[in-house]
């Protein structure tokens, strides 16, 4: 297990290097001079040249990449072209906010999605099932940012129960969490339903029932445990789309997280910031996938890693 963890950790390095290389080359191959953006419209050609030298943009591209990577090794992602603050500092300031939102959303999604999926699978083609299936279809088809806005209209504008945006109290967390979770709940419910239905048709479930076990025991102990693997996969994969959804949700609710940071950087053509935040997002996603793989081992003792 330990060896497997180490090996998986090492195997993510080439992917990360590949991503950094791709990002680096593409960002530089494009029109638009970052030095020009940084200097502003009033700058003289000498000023622009000075900034270019300061940023190291006058050097050959492979030298620039080597420097970028050696700084990356000590978690130095350069300075933001917009605010002049170190990129890493800005990311650290916002990462906890996104992490909070992602955690509350995935927790809510599991708490709602898994039971809903189980109920739908236990009573297939009944009203409950149709209700769960249609709700999850709606959830998948609904643009999260629109749902967010509609929640604001209902709960902030009309009822005035919850704040429309910002950060601070627990009340600020409610609407963004519900918005972000909506999409994931739908996916988890769908996957739980289909996974449970498959397991429930297995012979060992019939055996468990015929030896007189309580239905509750059959469902939870015999069926759910076996249905969990695909459910965990979906939860893990959804964490990624959660990061994507966070970009939109954070914009709707003016939530100062990573997603908003990326969008602002794109709008301002702040290259070091774009590069850094996308790299960190990629790293997070890879880490989550790794954790999901490790959780498999606990849930399913049949899996061995050699």
């Amino acid at each position: 297990m330990f060896q497997y963890t180490i090996r998986r950790l090492i195997s993510t390095i080439p992917v990360l290097i590949g991503i950094s290389l791709l990002l680096f080359v593409m960002l530089r191959a494009l029109p638009g001079d970052p030095a020009l953006v940084l200097a502003g419209q009033m700058a003289s050609p000498e000023d622009i040249e000075l900034i270019r030298v300061q940023l190291g943009l006058d050097q050959p591209i492979h030298v620039q990449y080597a420097k970028f990577m050696s700084r990356l090794a000590v978690l130095d992602l350069g300075r933001s072209a917009r605010t002049q603050n170190p990129v890493m500092e800005e990311i650290w300031a916002r990462l906890p906010n996104t992490f909070l939102l992602a955690t509350t959303a995935i927790t809510l999604a599991c708490l709602l999605g898994i039971p809903a999926g189980i109920v739908a699978a236990v009573k297939p083609y009944t009203r409950v099932d149709y209700l769960v299936t249609s709700f999850s279809l709606f959830g998948i088809s609904m643009p999260v940012f629109w749902l967010g806005l509609m929640l604001v209209v209902v709960f902030s504008v009309t009822l005035q129960w919850l704040p429309a945006g910002g950060i601070g109290t627990w009340k600020h967390v409610v609407l963004p969490t519900v918005t972000l979770a909506s999409f994931v709940v739908a996916f988890i419910a769908r996957m739980t339903r289909s996974s449970m239905m498959e397991v429930l048709s297995q012979d060992y479930i019939t055996t468990a029932r015929s030896k007189g076990l309580m239905e509750k025991v059959v469902i939870v102990k015999h069926a759910l445990r076996n249905a969990l693997i695909p459910i965990i996969t979906v939860v893990g994969l959804q964490f990624g789309s959660l990061l994507g959804g966070a970009v939109l949700t954070e914009t709707v609710f003016a939530w100062p997280g990573m997603g908003r940071l990326i969008v602002d950087s794109i709008l301002a053509r702040d290259y070091p910031m774009i590069q850094g935040s996308i790299l960190i997002f990629g790293l997070l996603y890879i880490l989550v996938n790794l954790i999901v793989d490790l959780i498999y081992a606990y849930v399913d003792p049949r899996i061995h890693y050699d």
Partner: protein, 308 residues
């Protein structure tokens, strides 16, 4: 190997599991297709999805008839009006009819989603075919690149590409299209791997049929079903992604009527004029719902064992 030892293998297993019994002869697959179509037409939800999409197609084609005016011409005297007889969905902050913009927006959104799946299909399917059929080094390199692209969740990948390419309608199509390429590569490759070892492919090879012909005549028809299903679902995703980018202000730019961008600008008036943001959202929701319903129905009808 007794049990799947990683998520990747699990996924692969699922893919093989989902493979239909491949048909070597064209006639058999055609009759099977007809059977699938009949099954699709019996599925009420799928038919409903199809009708929704048809509705959008007609709206997009007949946009100038349905709304004769210019949907982008501002009329500041009548900004932010609530729904009325003259403007059934009200007007936006520049006094433009929201109904007109939603109607013309269906053109933009459908065009984008068609463009996106074209990019995905034209790049992803050939690469998936080559990767699965030839294997070896080509396969290895292609799969590592796919790994890299899949290391980002779809929307983030599209976002990153827009950051690189810049805003606008063409770059929106290219960015979202590229973000779909790895999905097609994986899907097609997985199917090819299982078809490649079939006896009829071996027979074709034995009588000296050229690779290109084998790929075209024997392998492609057998991977068509998952491609069709993925394309229907992909159209919905493309609309969602494009709307998301438009909403963030980094997709289609004003004054082009695009649903996401309309929502983005309507967001500023949510307190006093919530109708500005309401209707474009409904338009997005119903379009995506239509493609998802149709995609689900297609999968149930043509590919009942698959679980994608």
């Amino acid at each position: 190997m007794a049990f799947p030892s990683s998520k990747e293998e699990l996924r692969k297993e699922k893919m093989q599991d989902s493979d239909r019994q491949p048909n070597g002869t064209k006639g058999a697959s055609e009759s099977q297709f007809r059977k699938g179509l009949a099954k699709l037409l019996r599925n009420r939800m799928a038919v409903f999805g199809g009708i929704l999409i048809l509705g959008y197609l007609v709206t997009a084609l007949l946009a100038p008839v349905l709304y004769p005016g210019n949907p982008s011409a501002p009329n500041l005297m009548r900004s932010l009006e609530r729904p009325s007889l003259e403007h059934p969905l009200g007007t936006d902050e520049l006094g433009r009819s929201i109904l007109g913009r939603v109607i013309y927006g269906s053109r933009v959104s459908l065009m984008i989603s068609i463009g996106v799946v074209c990019v995905g299909l034209l790049v992803g399917v050939p690469l998936g075919l080559v990767s699965g059929y030839y294997g070896g080094k080509v396969d290895f390199i292609l799969q590592r690149i796919t790994d890299m692209l899949l290391a980002f969740p779809g929307f983030l990948l599209a976002l990153a590409l827009v950051a690189i390419l810049g805003v606008g309608i063409n770059n929106t199509v290219i960015s979202i299209g590229i973000s779909m390429v790895p999905i097609y590569i994986r899907l097609v490759r997985g199917c090819v791997l299982s078809v490649r070892e079939q006896v009829y492919v071996e027979a074709a090879r034995a009588v000296g049929t050229r690779d290109l012909k084998i790929l075209k005549r024997h392998i492609l028809p057998n991977v068509m079903v998952p491609i069709i299903v993925q394309t229907s679902l992909g159209m919905g995703t493309a609309i969602l992604f494009a709307a998301g980018l438009g909403f963030l202000g980094i997709g289609v730019q004003p004054p082009t009527p695009e649903w996401g961008a309309m929502l983005g600008s309507g967001r500023g008036y949510i307190f006093n004029s919530p109708h500005v943001a309401t209707f474009p959202g409904i338009a997005i929701f119903l379009a995506v719902l239509g493609f998802n319903l149709l995609g689900d129905g297609l999968r149930d009808a043509l590919d009942p064992r698959s679980k994608i």
